[in-house]
């Protein structure tokens, strides 16, 4: 493996990748500008939020980031709790995704809070308000953020542990690494546990607004649906991340293992679909689907495009074998969940007497897009710095380049490099993130 990957743009000559990097960097810069605008001039100037719509695009993006970051706890559960070590190569990409996802969710949240400097208030015991679903979310997200960074500690340390030029640093890192690995099982269990709690609480938030959320979405079991949909989008996100990273680093992700993982997805998707449709039937809310309106349309998009479609696709072995199709199906699941979050937090939110609907402002779009771009860039930066991508590629048979961000003009070279005999490490994957 002698590909000299530079951090930002690998290899000279792959101009499309330079273009993608430049585009992302540009978006991120615009996002930072929008963020400065918000903190400098306030919410009124930067957003279209009003009396009737206190939550907008940033909150939608927030909960979407958190849902998509669920891959972190799902893979931790699969690999470390259920010990499916075959899929260990998923853990680090998932962890990095979750870590950045939660970090950026917190950034977006800070931008949305009117008094962002009080963001830590839920920690103070005299302000605890255990009746609030949001309190539960706040506490769990804060704890989980710490958990994610702790899970990253070994990865961070391993980078410096063999640094012979800085023996002190090396020794320090080795020590920290050892301590971290001791606590790792506790950290992992805690992480999985509180993830389940706050993913569901994000839905439970709206149980308190039965008169304001459209009946297509309001249900007492909103928390269960949110938890299930987070679980259901966790693995697809990791799969897509691995596929894209494999492409970007010219180290194609192992399709056999990814296909195996994807085999479970139709099961999870159908459980979610069954519960969602059953809930609509039981509450008699299906009548609202019959009226042609924005909410009913959005529900159809969410369920058909984001759940049923990928369910059928992923049930086909051909789809699971092809990186392009698998990536496409995974993307559909992700989009489905993002649309679901948008539906609950935005489209389905219908306050009485609102003179007009809420539409996000330019700055809201810019900040959101910028944060997504920054997330992708940071992901690549860290993946190049630390040992994140640890798979050994198997032979790639077909690659349909559908909807993929990073395009490479040298697939052949990448495959050749990837299929070269590998150096052997001696120990198998054990309990360590």
């Amino acid at each position: 493996m002698s590909s000299m990957e530079s951090v930002w743009a690998p290899r000279s000559g792959s101009s499309s990748r330079h273009a993608a990097t430049a585009l992302l960097a540009g978006l991120a810069a615009v996002g930072v500008a929008a963020g400065l605008y918000r903190f400098g001039l306030g919410l009124k100037a930067s957003t279209n939020l009003d009396h009737f719509y206190p939550w907008g695009l940033w909150i939608v993006a927030d909960v979407s980031f958190i849902a998509l970051a669920a891959g972190g706890f799902v893979t931790a559960a699969v690999v470390h709790v259920l010990h499916r070590e075959r899929y260990h190569f998923l853990v680090r990409p998932a962890l990095l995704t979750a870590m950045l996802g939660y970090t950026f969710a917190c950034l977006l949240l800070a931008a949305d809070l009117g008094r962002y400097y009080n963001i830590w208030h839920p920690i103070l015991p005299h302000m605890w308000q255990g009746n609030s679903a949001l309190f539960e979310v706040g506490m769990c997200v804060m704890t989980y953020l710490v958990v994610l960074y702790l899970e990253f500690v070994p990865i961070f340390c391993q980078r410096f542990v063999s640094d012979r030029r800085h023996p002190r640093l090396s020794r320090l890192c080795a020590g920290v690494d050892r301590i971290a690995s001791r606590c790792m099982s506790f950290i992992i269990v805690l992480g999985v546990g509180i993830s389940c709690l706050h993913q569901s609480s994000l839905g439970h938030i709206f149980v308190l607004a039965p008169t304001k959320l459209h009946p297509l979405w309001w249900t007492p079991i909103l928390s269960l649906l949110f938890l299930l949909s987070a679980v259901m989008t966790g693995l697809p996100t990791v799969i897509l991340v691995c596929l894209l990273a494999g492409r970007s680093f010219r180290k194609p992700a192992p399709m056999r293992a990814l296909g195996e993982v994807a085999k479970y997805l139709p099961v999870v998707l159908s459980i979610y679909l069954a519960i969602k449709v059953g809930d609509l039937l039981l509450r008699g809310a299906l009548v609202h689907l019959m009226q042609l309106s924005l909410p009913s349309l959005m529900l159809l998009v969410e369920l058909v495009g984001g759940v049923l479609g990928p369910l059928i696709l992923l049930a086909l072995p051909r789809v699971r074998r092809s990186p392009g199709w698998l990536g496409f199906a995974a993307l559909l699941v992700m989009l489905g969940v993002v649309i679901n979050r948008a539906n609950v937090y935005w489209i389905g939110f219908q306050p009485v007497g609102a003179p007009h609907r809420y539409v996000p402002s330019l700055a809201e779009w810019a900040f959101t897009a910028g944060m997504v771009a920054a997330l992708v860039l940071l992901w690549r930066l860290e993946a190049a710095r630390f040992s994140i991508i640890g798979w050994r590629s198997d032979r790639v048979t077909s690659w349909l380049p559908i909807l993929l961000l990073c395009r490479s003009s040298r697939v052949g070279a990448a495959v050749a490099v990837a299929c070269k005999p590998q150096r052997r490490g001696r120990s198998p994957c054990a309990l360590s993130v």
Binding site: G42, L49, P54, F89, L113, G114, S185, K212
Partner: protein, 338 residues
């Protein structure tokens, strides 16, 4: 091996012990104030003539821009349907168009926070900035607020307003039932009630107000619809309304009798009851992890420096100086097992 197992069990126990921190006090339901003892206001919509003296008094009491006599005389403002805002806790709206033609005249409706008996906003606020006081008021403490606006999302009446234009210290603004002004004026009725010249507003115990309201309905069935708005809506409100026309025509939302916090808190406290479910969940996870563990791959990390092969099969080597980090980690174990 033994050590690992012990470390593992320990971790499960600690996970169980720490978990409650995530939702602490969630199982302690806050006592709902006794509705009968609390104070309230009865608004008899039929008596209001839209003079807006209550608006003026409210502004004066809360230190907002005063309403001059001239602006009070200008009745054009009544025509637009207004919502209480960040600089006016109460507004009077004139309802004409929505009424049946037979009605022949306008109805004036004073709107403000209804100080729900079991308020959704209080249940929502994650830092307890909003509180239900024993005497009925729902009050706000800006020092605690983080500006998440969840309270605005859940209020069934869209009453809390937000100072979006305030860059650094925006507040949630809503009627506070003139709490804290009782001593100053020797009369604990809210400023608006004292200002009303038409006796449209009555301040008394909620139970007594309900009694009076129903008496009025029985005595003059021709003047009132048989409905005291706020008696049962969302579990009851401290502000009660009497009207001659159905309330939905006046823009009052048609709401059920259940207080939203009852359902949501029941679910939440079910999930967190005495922290048993989360702890049990973590314990199950931990137990699964321990029972299904494989004893392979628990080799001690190598002590010697040099290319380090880690537990998980990542091979780390020294990146050369001046070059960006090279890709040299690979998880052999992952593919080897297939």
């Amino acid at each position: 091996m033994e050590l690992d197992r012990r470390a593992f069990l320990k971790s499960v126990v600690i996970a169980g012990a720490l978990e409650p921190a995530a939702g602490a006090r969630a199982s302690v339901g806050e006592a709902r104030p006794a509705a009968a003892d609390a104070m309230g206001v009865l608004v008899d919509v039929t008596k209001c003539n839209g003079c807006r003296r209550c608006e003026a008094a409210c502004r004066a009491a809360n230190g907002f821009d005063a309403l001059s006599e001239e602006s009070l005389k200008d009745r054009s403002v009544l025509a637009q349907l207004r919502q209480p805002g960040a600089a006016d806790y109460t507004v009077v709206n004139e309802i004409t168009a929505a009424l049946p033609a037979a009605e022949g005249r306008s109805v004036y409706v004073k709107r403000n926070c209804l100080h729900c008996v079991d308020p959704a906003c209080v249940s929502a606020c994650l830092v307890g900035a909003l509180r239900k006081q024993p005497q009925g008021a729902v009050t706000y403490d800006a020092a605690k607020c983080m500006g998440c606006r969840y309270c605005m999302v859940v209020c069934p009446f869209q009453m809390p307003a937000y100072e979006y234009e305030n860059v650094l210290t925006p507040q949630v603004r809503k009627c506070g039932f003139c709490t804290g002004q009782a001593q100053a004026t020797n009369d604990d009725a809210p400023a608006c009630v004292r200002a009303c010249p038409k006796e449209c507003l009555t301040y008394a115990r909620r139970s007594e107000l309900l009694h009076r309201a129903h008496t009025r309905i029985t005595e003059q069935p021709e003047s009132y619809v048989d409905h005291v708005y706020g008696e049962h809506e969302v579990g009851g409100t401290s502000w009660l309304y009497l009207s001659g026309v159905p309330f939905d025509l006046l823009g009052f939302p048609t709401l059920g009798t259940a207080a939203p916090p009852r359902l949501s808190e029941a679910v939440q406290h079910g999930v967190f009851s005495h922290f048993m479910p989360p702890v049990a969940w973590c314990a199950i996870l931990g137990l699964t992890m321990w029972l299904t563990r494989s004893d392979r791959g628990e080799s001690a990390p190598p002590e010697s420096p040099g290319p380090v092969v880690h537990d998980d099969g990542f091979v780390n080597r020294l990146p050369e100086r001046g070059k960006s980090h090279e890709f040299d980690g690979e998880c052999v174990g992952a593919s080897e097992r297939q």
